[in-house]
Amino acid sequence: MKKSKRIETLDKRPVNKDGFINEWPEMGFVAMKSPYDPKPSVRVEDGVIVELDGKARADFDFMDQFIADYAIRIDRAEASMAVSSLDIARKIVNINVSRKEILEIVSGITPAKMAEIINYLNVVEMMMGMQKMRARRVPGNQAHITNLKDDPVQIAADAAEGALRGFSEEETTTGIARYAPFNAIALLIGSQAGRKGVLTQCAVEEATELELGIRGLTTYAETLSVYGTEKVFIDGDDTPYSKAFLNAAYASRGLKVRFTSGSGSEVLMGSSEQKSMLYLECRCLYVTKGAGSQGIQNGSVSCIGVAASVPSGIREVMGENLVAALLGLECASSNDQSFSNSDMRRTARTMLQFMPGTDFIFSGYAAEPNYDNMFAGSNFDAEDFDDYNVLQRDMQVDGGLRPVTEEQVIRVRWEAAKAVQAVFKYLGLTEVTDEQVEAVVYAHGSKDTLKRDVASDLMSADDLMKRGITGIDVVKALAESGFEELAESILEMLKQRVIGDYMHTAAILDEHFQVMSGVNTPNDYMGPGTGYRVDGRRWEEIKAIPHIIDPDDF
């Protein structure tokens, strides 16, 4: 066959490097609806759910039982299930029906019913729903702060810059697991150097993550993973009950926690039980709610390559974000993993959360170049900062970020790097040289920084854990090294755990350490003229992008 130049050009487009697969329900490659998904049903006897989505109590797996016992309001179940799914779907979109009324109805429905409701909504209706159902009045954003070298100085500097740019939460992880305590400390210090009140976490193996939290080296946790089938839970050496205990362990020390789930994980683990991704994700979210978590990070997350490969997959991702909001959970809505070679496609995917606003639009945004993103790449990275700021300005949407100046960036990076250098010296950890500080402050990514002695760093990090270093030691080190203001900020962050208000749904802290959550600043959107609007000082801030034409220049 003679080749078409048009087709040849199209074949070379980035989008054609992405992975696509036909629907295959037997293996779970189906987004919204599988022929094997159960039909919604519930039966209550003597205050106990004895039938859930077509299954009798005797046939429950541990997820069904957990959901039936803890995640559905039994007193509401029969009344809520009597409302048709189409009616509930319409109420979600109807601006005259309040968030509160919907939460009440939804509190009594089953996972299969929830999936059925979401199937009635197109993406614009889902966005309408999210605009109303998001827990916190003002949307927020979260950053990933990582680098290929696990360089703690770069973590601190990028955290400071990220905080300055507006992120309310910052998350790190490691290339090499044993770097965790260094990364956690660097993030804790750096974030406060950029903007007071930013929350930080270190996503690592669960027991280590808990220990870092208990020691006050992190201020929240997110990586409590739940899955949609019993088999995948068991493969992860877990049950819904063990997750509930872990959640309680954090709560006992006053730490904010959210769970993590996302469609596609069961497919990737080879145990989807032939169910749709949406139905399985509904089960995850019910378990999250039943375990008493205030929130969830979901939206396919690290399995986005699977969800995005099937028809209606990106719609499903938005659908599962909405399910989280409908259950009254804080929703950190993913956008945190690269999944497409096409700039057009990756941007379109993010608009579904960006335009209505979610509690955290990204969870998170790579605040470093993607080659340094140790979550294997985020959907947006540091090189997209200005694009993102322009999108906010174009559409008058609050995406949680703000334009900054070069002077500000250098100043906060410098302070964060010097503070880490001082703390490492005070605590007797590996040396941070002046040359390293200098390189990091002016760097874009780890390709511009110096090599560290990894073996010595790891021994020093192990030693730090053995010595029982806590957040208070970091405060002391800062205070006695001339960083009084930073010391005070970190002490304030530790005090939050005693106050406990930031454990409320969708809580973030402002620069005065005041909580803004779904409880004290709830979303009150009910159509035009209501809810959060971008105006006043915030709008001025969003407008002030760099590279604006000055008429006097002509």
């Binding site: 490097k17 697969i21 027991a207």
Partner: protein, 217 residues
């Protein structure tokens, strides 16, 4: 011959039965296909036992290794992968042994199972798609000494270094971990393929026969 509704149904049933038997449908549609490969039975294979040689590093390979899957996600033959890891271990003066883990297809658990029966307490987990981990018997399952999560980026030279580093942990040396590699586009390019390969591997999981000796290399 009269073609009626009944006959059409009978033919459809016969065809569907044939499809089910083969576990695949001939055309482009995947609907109805419930397996990727028939299950291999390892009944009668020697169960893996705990080693006593303190120089030993055990490599625990995945259930489909060198059988249903013969090359990594980027097409590196698994024979070569194993040969390089073993060479790395031996270059450091340690001894290698290969077992096939059948109870799980999770790389961390595979690595931990291998470490638990290793005479030194150090093991390597190796999935058929190429993902690898260096594990130690007393660590949490999802923790590790070194993890190489992005299989598409691992080269034969890196597999050799993985063997070398595992051996160095046995010797109690101050080990410099292999430098992290990262490709932020790896998910877009490989995740569907990774899912299919993992399904293939998970199909071969057999909880009845947890681990067997896998001398073949």
């Amino acid at each position: 011959m009269e073609i009626n509704e009944e006959l059409i149904q009978a033919i459809t049933r016969a065809v569907m039965k044939e499809i089910d038997k083969n576990g695949q449908s001939g055309g482009g549609s995947l609907t109805g296909k419930t397996r990727m490969m028939p299950k291999t039975s390892y009944k009668g294979y020697p169960q893996a036992v705990k080693g006593s040689d303190p120089k030993e590093v055990v490599i625990g390979v995945g259930p489909a290794f060198q059988k249903e899957i013969k090359a990594t996600i980027t097409g590196i033959p698994l024979d070569d992968v194993l040969q390089n890891i073993r060479a790395g271990i031996e270059e450091e003066g340690m001894v290698s042994r290969v077992v096939k883990v059948l109870k799980t297809s999770d790389v961390c658990f595979m690595g931990l199972e291998a470490a638990k029966i290793s005479g030194s307490g150090i093991g390597i987990g190796l999935q058929s798609k190429g993902t690898a981990v260096i594990h130690q018997k007393d660590l949490y399952p999802l923790s590790n000494l070194e993890l190489f999560p992005q299989a598409p980026l691992i080269t034969l030279d890196m597999y050799r270094k993985i063997g070398q580093n595992a051996a160095r942990y046995v010797k109690g040396e101050k080990v410099t971990p292999i430098e992290s590699v990262n490709d932020p586009m790896v998910r877009a390019k490989f995740q569907v393929k990774a899912a299919l390969m993992h399904i293939k591997e998970t199909e071969q999981v057999d909880p009845e026969i947890p681990m067997i000796e896998w001398g073949k290399a």
